[in-house]
Amino acid sequence: MAGQESVAATTVLMDTDCCSSGRWQGNTLSDMRRRMVDRIATGLCWAATALVLLMLFSILFVLIRNGIGGLRWVTFVHVTLPPGQAGGLANAIVGSLIQTGLAVLIGAPVGLLVGIYLAEFTSTDGRLINLVRFVSDLLLSAPSILVGLFIYMVVVVPTGHFSGLAGALALSILVVPVVVRTTEDMLRLVPLSMREAAIALGAPRWRVILFVCLRAARDGVATGILLALARVSGETAPLLFTSLGNMNWSVSPAAPMASLPVTIYQYAGAAYADWTALAWTGALLITAGILMINITVRLGLGRNRK
């Protein structure tokens, strides 16, 4: 931070110098060209930032414009119905909550354990740790549709039917690497002196890790789990072949289960105006939820840092 400010100060200094005496940056043709190139590059950087911000606001604007009309009581209490029958999204919302909830319940403990392994067992398993970290990072960006295919082959085909549980399993594969990454990072921030103090008191290593280190890192770890929840709640591709979607009210994880993203996907391409309107409302709901989690997490992090 201090370095950045001093760079800025240097720039200011140079600018005034060049304007007052013109000694450092002369007025030869090459100097003028250099300043021109600098201005153009600066302008392009402004333009790039503005353009991407414009995209973000355009997305939010379109979502709100098309989705706000559907934010009615009926949307939250009615299940999806055939076109023309004033249906809602209740089953999709509840299905999404169940599946993402289950996914986090399955994925977060595994992610926590692996994160602990990567942060705390470096002295004994160095090589395996590097491999596991590498593979976990690969999973972080692996194509999510292939995760869906994988679960289809190992869960849906053997059990013979689509199910909410299969959807949750597919999502949990995406939860694990996010939790692994943040858990490891946060555990590494725990000061060594804390571990030493706990060990000096005679606590066994597993107790030190679980009740001293993990406890000290719990805010960061919770952040990671929340971010993982936010990430998977918008995932569509892994659910297409696993939980399939369900037009009726169903909360059984053993049966096909509706979810917001899949319902949005099915409705957005439909030719019925009320279905597309519902798709936009669903999209607005899910984006608002995800952005809210992200903003909360970021604000929380900023507060802790100060």
């Binding site: 931070m1 370095g3 950045q4 001093s6 760079v7 240097t10 140079m14 940056q25 600098d38 590059a41 600066t42 392009l44 950087c45 402004w46 930032t49 991407v52 911000l53 995209m55 973000l56 997305i59 379109v62 979502l63 692996v114 392994y117 990567l118 067992f121 740790i129 491999l131 596991v132 976990s136 999973l139 960006s141 692996a142 194509p143 999510s144 549709i145 292939l146 995760v147 295919l149 994988f150 082959m153 085909v157 690497p177 066994p204 290593r205 597993w206 936010a230 990430r231 918008g234 569509t236 297409l240 072949f241 993203p261 949005i264 996907y265 957005a268 936009w280 984006t287 952005l291 992200n294």
Partner: protein, 319 residues
């Protein structure tokens, strides 16, 4: 057993070691589970694809046909679409991401930079299906009404590159797909770039400014050479994301198994093909196996890209 290890009287080596051993085993099992997860994915794809590879051989990879009626399948068209859209996305996203990273680290004041940086990272959190819907509702009509007719009339007659801009202005197609992907991956790439730029020792930049370099010269001659490896790593990470993206592309790609020079012609990508055709293919059929085979190819391509990316980014972290 674990409980006894906690009471001071039972702090004998044997019991203490036992609790630790149990814990270490549990934790190692979880770690192995991750390895099995990725290994399992590759293995299951390969297993599902065996019928397609047995029937078509390695020629499957370069075969342009995708015809369920004649039961003749090949991966060339979706692979072409995947690569073209992803490379277009990279070509569009890299300058944007670079501009943003420079703006955030060198131009904006720290306070504003924090706010704008957060907003741009929020874009990365938006689910891909939302990008798809936005693309379909905003970008496709925009392309169809303004960009494509305009490009048809002007660039379409330029010898050499004219072919790229021919074709009916549907609005959907390779270029639109690439643009959507570019918007999606820009935040990822710019986040990597910003982190590297910030991790650079300030004294290097200060001495360059002190010698009278302009800001752009500092970026071009000092920052970029210093951070080149990680910047390329970040770009590869973005490419890896773009290759496997499904929902954003499905809405705007046009879904035609087609290879052509025109950027405006509808095409298909591997992920999009799987999303569309998988629900209508029976387990055990040749089509099912062919879809698994293209999935397997996508897995290989994206893993290779991500491995490169991680190796490049790791070199930086170590040195």
């Amino acid at each position: 057993m674990d409980r006894s290890a906690t009471s001071p009287s039972a702090l004998t080596g044997a019991v203490k070691g036992n609790g630790d051993a149990v814990f270490a085993t549990i934790v190692r099992c979880a770690a192995v589970l991750i390895l099995l997860g990725l290994g399992g994915m590759v293995a299951v794809m390969a297993w599902g694809a065996r019928a397609a590879f047995a029937r078509f051989g390695l020629g499957f990879v370069l075969d342009k046909a995708w015809n369920p009626v004649t039961q003749h399948f090949g991966a060339a068209a979706p692979m072409f679409g995947t690569l073209v859209t992803s490379l277009l996305a990279i070509a569009l996203a890299v300058p944007l991401a670079f501009g943003i990273a420079v703006w955030l680290t060198e131009i904006a004041s720290p306070r504003i930079s924090g706010v704008i940086g957060t907003l741009i990272q929020l874009l990365a959190a938006v689910p891909s299906i939302i990008f798809g819907m936005w693309g379909f509702a905003v970008l496709v009509p925009f392309m169809a009404h303004y960009v494509e007719p305009f490009a048809n009339h002007t660039l379409g007659h330029v010898p050499g590159i004219g072919q790229l801009f021919h074709g009916a202005p549907y609005g959907t197609g390779f270029l639109t797909g690439g643009m959507i992907l570019a918007v999606m991956i820009t935040p990822f790439i710019s986040a990597v770039m910003r982190d590297v730029f910030l991790s650079m020792p300030a004294v290097l930049k200060e001495s360059a400014y002190g010698l009278g370099m302009t800001r752009w010269e500092v970026v071009r001659r000092i920052i970029l050479p210093w951070s080149r490896t990680s910047v390329v790593g970040g770009i590869m990470l973005g490419l890896g994301r773009a290759l496997g993206e499904t929902m954003a592309i499905t809405f705007v790609i046009g879904n035609a198994n087609h290879i052509g020079w025109s950027l405006f012609s509808p095409g298909n990508t591997i992920a999009s093909l799987i999303a569309l055709e998988f629900p209508e293919s029976a387990v055990g059929s040749l089509k099912f196996s062919s879809l698994m085979a293209v999935g397997f190819l996508l897995m290989l391509i994206s893993l290779a890209t991500l491995v490169c990316s991680r190796l490049l980014l790791r070199t930086r972290a170590a040195g």
